[in-house]
C-alpha cells in the first residue's frame, strides 16, 4: 500500500466532485422557506448616519423586512472583536474602536454595512436596498496609514486618539543603535508592501437558519474555521450559546486567510432569521468582495542593516507602520507583530534586532491575514535589504547570504523564534544550480543584443508555520489556543472516518489525511473518509490557516491513530493468543511478528464492536480522540530565484525563469505540495507585478472589479522549476513543516530583486507594472 501512503502522488480524492461541478458550497444550500438578503452599504468612506428611513423599502414587492443596527444592538448582539491583545511599549493595551456588525451612528469605510433587507428573491432584496434612504453627514476621510498618523488627520475612532492603535516593539533598541553606530557599513532602505485583495474564487456567503421549536441556530458559512466561528459568535457576539448554534462550512472555494474571520454578515443573517422567522441567505458578489473581504499587507517600513568589516550582519533596525483599515479584524493585531517581526532574523545569524510597529486606523476595509500573513512582509523587507546591501558592498548576493546563514540548530533568534532545523545553503545551492546562475552573464548579453534588459534576483525566505504552541501564543496575547483535534472512528467492518478540526478549502486534506491512515494501517485509501467543517459532527477544532493542517492537524491524527492501533493490537493479541508487544500492523492485517499468524484489520474492528470476545475489562468499540498541541512553530525555508527580461520600450517584464527550492521537511503528497507552491508563487507574482488595491483620496475603492484589479493569469506565469530539500521537522511526529504559504512569501522579493538588477537601480515599488518599470528606466518621465 506504499502507493497510497505518505510520499505518494495520490490524485486528489475530492477532485472528482469539484471537477464535475458536484461540489456543495454555501450558496448551493437551499432550505424550505429560504429568503434572500442584500446589505445596504455605505457609499462614503467616513460619515455620520443621521437617519435611516426604510419605509419605502419595506413596501416594495417581495420584501419581508429591513433591519438596522439599532435593532441589532437592542437585541444584545455584541460588537466584533479582535482576538489578540497587543500592548504598546508604554504598557497600555491596544486601542480598539467599536465595530458594530451594522453601523449604528458612523460609517468608516465604503462598504460598511448599515442595514439588511430580506426579500423573496435576491433581486427584490437588492431593489429594496436601493430604496432605503440613509441621511449621511459626510466626514473627511483618510486612507493612507502615514497620513492617518499625521496631526490634523480625520479622527476615525474616539477610542484611538490620532488613529494610533498601538505602538509596539520587539528586540533590543540600545544594542541595535550601538551596533549601527559602530558598523563598517549600514544599508538603509524604505520598503512599501502593497495592499492586496485576497480574491478566493468562491465569494463569501452565509445561510442563517433559526429553528423556533428548538430555539436553535444553524449557520452555513464560507469559513476556514467553523468551530472558532461558533466560539466567537457565541462567546462574544451573543448570537446563541454554543449548544444552540451549529456552524457548517461545507465545500469552500479558497480562503487565503480571508475566510478565517467572523464577518458581520454571518451574525446578521442568523439574527435576521430569528427576527423574520425565515432562513436568510446572503451571497457576496465580486464587487462586494472587493469592498468587504479583509485585505492583506499594506506596510510602510524604514530599515537599517548594519555590517561589520567581514560583511557579517551586526544589527537590524525596522520601523513599520501598518494599516489595519477601519476596524480591527479578528487577528489583525497579530499579523504585523508576532507573525511579522518575529521572522525578521530570516535565515541569518543576526545578533541584535529591533522592530517598532505602529498600527493605524484608516477609512479602508479592515486588513488581516492574507496568505503568508506577516511573513511575506518580513521576507520582502529582509530580502530586498540583503540584495541592496550586497550591491552596496560589492559582493554577490549569494555570498552575502552564505556569510550570514545560521548553520547550527536549534538557533535562538533575538526575536522570540527558536529555529529547530534547516539547511539554508542546501536550498541556495539547489536553486542556483537549477537556475544556471553561472550562465546568467551570457544570457544577459544575449538579451542586450536583442535590446532587452535582463536581471536575476534571489530571495532566501524563512517562515513560521504550524501555529502554534498554545501556552506560548497565550502569553503573547492570543485569545485562543492553537492546538488541533482529531477523532479516528473505525467502523464495524474496518472502514474509517477521520474527524478533523482542520478545514480543507483547496488544500486537499481529504487525500493527504487519508494517505496518512492508509500508510499506517495498510488499508485502501477508498476505505477512509475525512470529515470536517461541521461543529455538530466534529469535536472542537481550530481550523486551517498558517499552513498548520499538516504539522498540527495531522499530528493530532497521528496521536489518535496511536491510540486506535494500541487498542487494536490488544484485541488482535487476545484473538491470536499472542503477546501484545509482538503484534505488528501491515498491509491491512495485524500479525504476530515472526509467525504466519494474522487477523485482518476488518476482523479486529468487527470484534471490537461485537464485543463477544474482548480482553477482559476492555470497553467495546474502536474510536479514539486526540488533541495535539505543538511544542514549537515549524520553519519552512528555501531559496527562490527569478530571472526577468524587460522590454525597455514598454517596461513590460517577462519572467523568463522561476526557480523554487523549498525545505518543507517530510512531504505527504508531492503533487499536492507542488500545487500549493505553484499557487503561492502565482500569488507572489501577482503581488510583485500586478496586484494593488487602490483608493482615491476620498476613500472610494478604485479597484473594485477585475477591470482594474489585475490578477495573475496563466500567461503571466512561467513554468516553475521546483525542488525540495529535506531537514525533517524534529518538533512533530511526521517531521513536516507546512507548504501552503511559502510560494507567496518567497517570490515577491526574488522578482523585485531581479527587476531592480535589470534596471540598475533600486527605485521601484510593487507592483512593478509596465508603467512603473518604464518610468524607472526613463527617470525624466
Amino acid at each position: 500500500m506504499g502507493v497510497e501512503g505518505i510520499g505518494a502522488r495520490v490524485t486528489r480524492k475530492e477532485d472528482k466532485r469539484f471537477l464535475t461541478g458536484k461540489g456543495r458550497y454555501t450558496d448551493d444550500m437551499t432550505v424550505p422557506g429560504m429568503k434572500y438578503a442584500y446589505f445596504v452599504r455605505s457609499p462614503y468612506a467616513h460619515a455620520k448616519i443621521r437617519n435611516i428611513d426604510a419605509t419605502a423599502a419595506k413596501a416594495m414587492p417581495g420584501v419581508i423586512d429591513v433591519l438596522d443596527g439599532k435593532q441589532l444592538q437592542a437585541d444584545g448582539i455584541g460588537n466584533l472583536i479582535c482576538g489578540w491583545m497587543i500592548h504598546s511599549k508604554d504598557g497600555t493595551p491596544m486601542k480598539m474602536g467599536a465595530w458594530h456588525p451594522l453601523a449604528v451612528d458612523t460609517v468608516r469605510y465604503v462598504g460598511d454595512a448599515i442595514a439588511i433587507v430580506v426579500a423573496d428573491s435576491s433581486g427584490e432584496a437588492r431593489d429594496a436596498a436601493e430604496a432605503v434612504v440613509v441621511d449621511y453627514e459626510q466626514l473627511p476621510a483618510v486612507v493612507e496609514a502615514v497620513a492617518a498618523l499625521a496631526s490634523g488627520a480625520p479622527q476615525i475612532h474616539p477610542e484611538a486618539p490620532g488613529n494610533l492603535i498601538f505602538d509596539w516593539q520587539i528586540g533590543e533598541p540600545d544594542a541595535v543603535d550601538k551596533a549601527i553606530a559602530t558598523a563598517a557599513h549600514v544599508t538603509e532602505i524604505e520598503i512599501l508592501n502593497n495592499r492586496l485583495s485576497p480574491n478566493p474564487m468562491e465569494p463569501r456567503a452565509t445561510l442563517g437558519i433559526y429553528d423556533t421549536a428548538e430555539d436553535h441556530y444553524t449557520c452555513y458559512t464560507t469559513s476556514q474555521n467553523p468551530h472558532v466561528a461558533r466560539l466567537v459568535m457565541s462567546a462574544f457576539y451573543n448570537v446563541a450559546p454554543e449548544n444552540k448554534l451549529r456552524v457548517i462550512a461545507p465545500d469552500v472555494g479558497g480562503g487565503f486567510g480571508s475566510k478565517i474571520y467572523i464577518y458581520p454578515e454571518e451574525i446578521i443573517c442568523l439574527w435576521a432569521s430569528k427576527k423574520t422567522g425565515v432562513p436568510v441567505k446572503w451571497t457576496s458578489d465580486r464587487t462586494e468582495a472587493f469592498l468587504t473581504d479583509a485585505h492583506g499587507r499594506d506596510h510602510v517600513s524604514k530599515v537599517k542593516m548594519a555590517f561589520d568589516a567581514n560583511n557579517r550582519i551586526t544589527a537590524l533596525k525596522v520601523d513599520t507602520i501598518a494599516n489595519l483599515g477601519a476596524y480591527m479584524s479578528l487577528f489583525s493585531s497579530a499579523v504585523p507583530t508576532y507573525l511579522y517581526a518575529t521572522l525578521l532574523s530570516g535565515q541569518y545569524d543576526i545578533p541584535a534586532i529591533h522592530a517598532n510597529v505602529r498600527t493605524v486606523y484608516t477609512n479602508t476595509v479592515p486588513v488581516d491575514a492574507y496568505r503568508g500573513a506577516g511573513r511575506p512582509e518580513a521576507t520582502y523587507l529582509l530580502e530586498r535589504t540583503m540584495e541592496t546591501a550586497a550591491r552596496e558592498l560589492g559582493v554577490s548576493p549569494a555570498e552575502l547570504r552564505r556569510a550570514n546563514f545560521i548553520r547550527t540548530f536549534p538557533h535562538q533568534t533575538p526575536v522570540i523564534m527558536n529555529y529547530d532545523a534547516g539547511d539554508y545553503e542546501a536550498s541556495l545551492n539547489a536553486a542556483m544550480q537549477a537556475a544556471d546562475w553561472a550562465g546568467f552573464a551570457a544570457r544577459r548579453s544575449q538579451s542586450e543584443a536583442k535590446g532587452k534588459k535582463r536581471g536575476i534576483g534571489m530571495s532566501c525566505y524563512i517562515e513560521a508555520c504550524g501555529i502554534a504552541p498554545s501556552a506560548a501564543v497565550g502569553s503573547l496575547g492570543a485569545g485562543v489556543g492553537l492546538w488541533e483535534s482529531a477523532e479516528v472512528r473505525v467502523n464495524a467492518v474496518g472502514t474509517i472516518e477521520v474527524l478533523t478540526g482542520s478545514h480543507s478549502h483547496g488544500q486537499g486534506h481529504e487525500t493527504t489525511f487519508a494517505q496518512l491512515v492508509a500508510g499506517r494501517l495498510g488499508v485502501p485509501i477508498e476505505s477512509i473518509n475525512i470529515v470536517h467543517g461541521d461543529t455538530d459532527k466534529v469535536q472542537m477544532g481550530m481550523g486551517t490557516y498558517g499552513s498548520r493542517s499538516g504539522a498540527v492537524g495531522m499530528s493530532a491524527v497521528v496521536k489518535a491513530l496511536d491510540k486506535v492501533e494500541a487498542k487494536a493490537k490488544k484485541i488482535a493479541a487476545h484473538l491470536m493468543e499472542a503477546s501484545e508487544e509482538d503484534i505488528v500492523i501491515e498491509n491491512g492485517e495485524l500479525k504476530v511478528a515472526g509467525t504466519d499468524k494474522s487477523v485482518p484489520w476488518f476482523q479486529v474492528a468487527l470484534a471490537s464492536y461485537t464485543a463477544h470476545n474482548l480482553p477482559s475489562g476492555m470497553e467495546p468499540g474502536l474510536k479514539e480522540t486526540a488533541f495535539y498541541d505543538p511544542s514549537n512553530f515549524t520553519f519552512p525555508a528555501g531559496c527562490y530565484i527569478a530571472e526577468v527580461e524587460i522590454d525597455p520600450d514598454t517596461g513590460e517584464t517577462d519572467i523568463v525563469q522561476f526557480v523554487a527550492a523549498d525545505d518543507f521537511g517530510n512531504i505527504i503528497n508531492p503533487m499536492i505540495v507542488e500545487g500549493q507552491v505553484h499557487g503561492g508563487i502565482a500569488q507572489g507574482i501577482g503581488q510583485a507585478l500586478l496586484e494593488s488595491v487602490q483608493y482615491d483620496e476620498n476613500g472610494q475603492l478604485l479597484t473594485a472589479s477585475y477591470m482594474d484589479y489585475a490578477m495573475p493569469r496563466a500567461d503571466d506565469l512561467p513554468s516553475f522549476k521546483l525542488s525540495h530539500q529535506n531537514t525533517p521537522c524534529p518538533g512533530n511526529p511526521l517531521g513536516i513543516k507546512g507548504c501552503g504559504e511559502a510560494g507567496a512569501i518567497g517570490s515577491p522579493p526574488a522578482l523585485i530583486n531581479a527587476i531592480t538588477d535589470a534596471i540598475g537601480h533600486n527605485k521601484l515599488t510593487m507592483p512593478a507594472t509596465p508603467m512603473k518599470v518604464w518610468q524607472a528606466l526613463h527617470p525624466a518621465h
Binding site: 433581486g123 431593489d127 507585478l689 500586478l690 518621465h781
Partner: protein, 265 residues
C-alpha cells in the same frame, strides 16, 4: 437586475420596429457589455431586443477585395476567417486578441462599435481601414462615426447592420494590454489603403479613438517603423488613469505604431 422584457427579433425590420415601440429598450447583441452594465445597475432598459438570431446580420462576405462583416458576427468568427486573413490578416489578429475566448464567442463587431469604448479594439481597426458603417437607414464613414467616449453618430433607434471596407494593401495592429482588463491600454492600427496611409489609435485618447496625422504623413512618404522615430506624440490629449499616465501612453502610442508597421501584412 431590474425587470426587463426580452424580445428575439427575426429581422432587421422587426428589431427596428420593436425598438421604436419601446423607447427605453435597447438592442442586445453579444451582451458582453450591456448585460454586465445591467448587472451593475448602470443601465436598466425596459426591453432587450436580441439581434443575434437575425441571420442577415451574421457572417463575413468577401467580394474581390471588398469585405462586409455583419453586425452580429462574433469576434471569434472574424479571428478565424481564412478568407479574410488572406486579404486583411490585421483585422483577424485584432479580433483574436479581444478579451478571452468566452468574450470572443459572444461579443460582436456591431455591439463593440455601437458601444465605442475608448479602449476597444475594433474602433481602431475600422477607423484605420477607413471602413463604412452601414445601418438600417444609411452609411456612415468611420471618420464620422466614432465621436467621443462611448459616443457615436448613431441616432436614437438606429441599428448597425454591417461594416464594409476595402482590404488595404498592407495593415498591422499592435496592442498593449491593460494589465487588469486586457482592453487596449494603447492599440494602434496602421493601414496602407488606396486613399493613403491611415493610422488610428485606441485606448489612449481622452476622447476616444483618433487618427494620428503626423504618423500618417511620415508613413506616407516612408512605410517603415523607423520613419516614426522622430515624429512627436503629444501627451496633452491623452488619457491618464491609475494604470497609465499620459506620458506613458504617449510612449506606447509610438512604440505600438512602430510595432504595427513592423508586423503589417
Amino acid at each position: 437586475m431590474y425587470a426587463t422584457s426580452y424580445h428575439r427579433a427575426s429581422s432587421v425590420e422587426e428589431a427596428v420596429k420593436l425598438k421604436s415601440a419601446n423607447e427605453e429598450g435597447k438592442y442586445l447583441s453579444g451582451g458582453m457589455t450591456l448585460i454586465a452594465t445591467m448587472k451593475q445597475r448602470l443601465a436598466a432598459p425596459s426591453d432587450l431586443i436580441d439581434l443575434r438570431h437575425i441571420s442577415t446580420l451574421r457572417g463575413i462576405s468577401i467580394d474581390g477585395r471588398k469585405v462586409t462583416i455583419g453586425a452580429a458576427t462574433p469576434h471569434a468568427d472574424v479571428a478565424a476567417s481564412r478568407e479574410l486573413a488572406a486579404i486583411c490578416p490585421a483585422i483577424c489578429k485584432l479580433a483574436g486578441h479581444i478579451g478571452d475566448p468566452h468574450v470572443r464567442h459572444m461579443g460582436t463587431i456591431g455591439g463593440s462599435i455601437a458601444n465605442n469604448d475608448p479602449a476597444a479594439d475594433y474602433p481602431a481597426g475600422l477607423l484605420g481601414l477607413g471602413a463604412t458603417i452601414v445601418t438600417d437607414r444609411r452609411s456612415i464613414p468611420a471618420d464620422d462615426f466614432f465621436i467621443g467616449l462611448f459616443e457615436t453618430a448613431l441616432e436614437e433607434g438606429e441599428m448597425v447592420t454591417s461594416v464594409t471596407f476595402n482590404a488595404p494593401e498592407k495593415a498591422g495592429y499592435a496592442k498593449f494590454n491593460n494589465p487588469a482588463s486586457r482592453f487596449a491600454m494603447t492599440g494602434v492600427f496602421v493601414a496602407k489603403t488606396a486613399g493613403g496611409v491611415r493610422v488610428a489609435v485606441t485606448g489612449a485618447g481622452s476622447s476616444g479613438v483618433f487618427r494620428h496625422p503626423g504618423f500618417e504623413q511620415a508613413l506616407g512618404s516612408n512605410w517603415s517603423a523607423d520613419a516614426l522615430s522622430n515624429v512627436a506624440v503629444d501627451a496633452s490629449n491623452l488619457m491618464a488613469d491609475m494604470h497609465a499616465n499620459a506620458e506613458y501612453r504617449a510612449n506606447l502610442v509610438k512604440v505600438m505604431a512602430k510595432r504595427a508597421v513592423a508586423s503589417a501584412g
